[in-house]
Symmetry: C2
Subunit: 176 residues, 2 copies
């Protein structure tokens, strides 16, 4: 069990810096503090750690810049964040604000393997004619009825499956 190269807190800093660089071209201590909801001295401290790990460049009173290694790491985290948010909102139907909060926490907890399976699974649902947005709508409807433990579905499955067959035929030769 090898311990991770950076802590989840440092991952948050990297991710924040990455987002600020994208939004404002440069990342400043004050903005990082605002982004992560911490005070400036906490940022100063964290930046020292990240400089030591060669993940950012930062000279006194200057801007903060991700090194190539830092950027790769930040992108990886950011991608997790994005894909988890996508899964939570589109598939699980979680409200965006909550989905973002959950993604923010979960992105540090989930292994690359499981993250990749989630990505594949979302793509599979999108691509499979038995899945798709229309199928997810049934899920949402079932949620509304608060899926009982006995797993009795409220929806008319027969109708639903025939529909998905029809969709498949219509979709022939028309890539999404």
């Amino acid at each position: 069990m090898k311990k991770p190269e950076v802590s989840s807190h440092m991952e948050d800093y990297l991710e924040g810096i990455y987002n600020l660089e994208r939004s404002y071209k440069v990342a400043r201590v004050k903005d990082i503090a605002g982004w992560l909801q911490v005070k400036m001295p906490s940022v100063s401290g964290a930046l020292q750690t990240l400089v030591r790990k060669k993940l950012i460049k930062h000279e006194r009173h200057g801007y903060v810049e991700l090194t190539p290694r830092g950027k790769i790491m930040a992108e990886r985290i950011q991608n997790k964040h994005k894909d988890l948010t996508d899964f939570f909102t589109r598939i699980l139907n979680i409200p965006p604000v909550q989905a973002a909060r959950d993604a923010c926490q979960t992105e540090h907890a989930i292994s690359p393997m499981t993250m990749n399976q989630i990505r594949k699974f979302v793509r599979f649902i999108d691509a499979c004619p038995r899945g798709g947005t229309e199928w997810i709508k049934y899920f949402m409807a079932e949620c509304y009825f608060s899926l009982s433990a006995e797993k009795k579905l409220q929806t008319d499955c027969h109708q639903c499956i025939k529909q998905s067959l029809k969709n498949k035929n219509n979709a022939k030769n028309s890539p999404r």
Copy 2:
């Protein structure tokens, strides 16, 4: 954003104590240390915190016992663990050991709302004739082919959908 009543570390201790109580009737410091892979003094310290929070009963050199409140909390965490493991292994096809590791981390990171949607989603997949184990098998097959970005499915969708229609008919009046 209210801060949680107990930290993720304390949740781990509660969960460990809960599991040991179930396996061996009682939880001892040494076994808790073994379970959580920490040294005994760390356990002693943690127990003091949990006693202070009235989540366990523990007198010097005695056994550790969950209070009713502690037990409720431990059960909630344990349920998250179980349901996440179920999702990871059965739906995402993650090997059990890795699934357990991921569940262990994720259970502290995920909100009750999202956790519940995952539970409902798994039940929906199990119950929906367009989902089910057979559908998941297709997902596994697609994983084997390493689902491409263009979302082209390898499987014969037409055949697959017809099969799910047939399954639905067979399943009529025969609850699982």
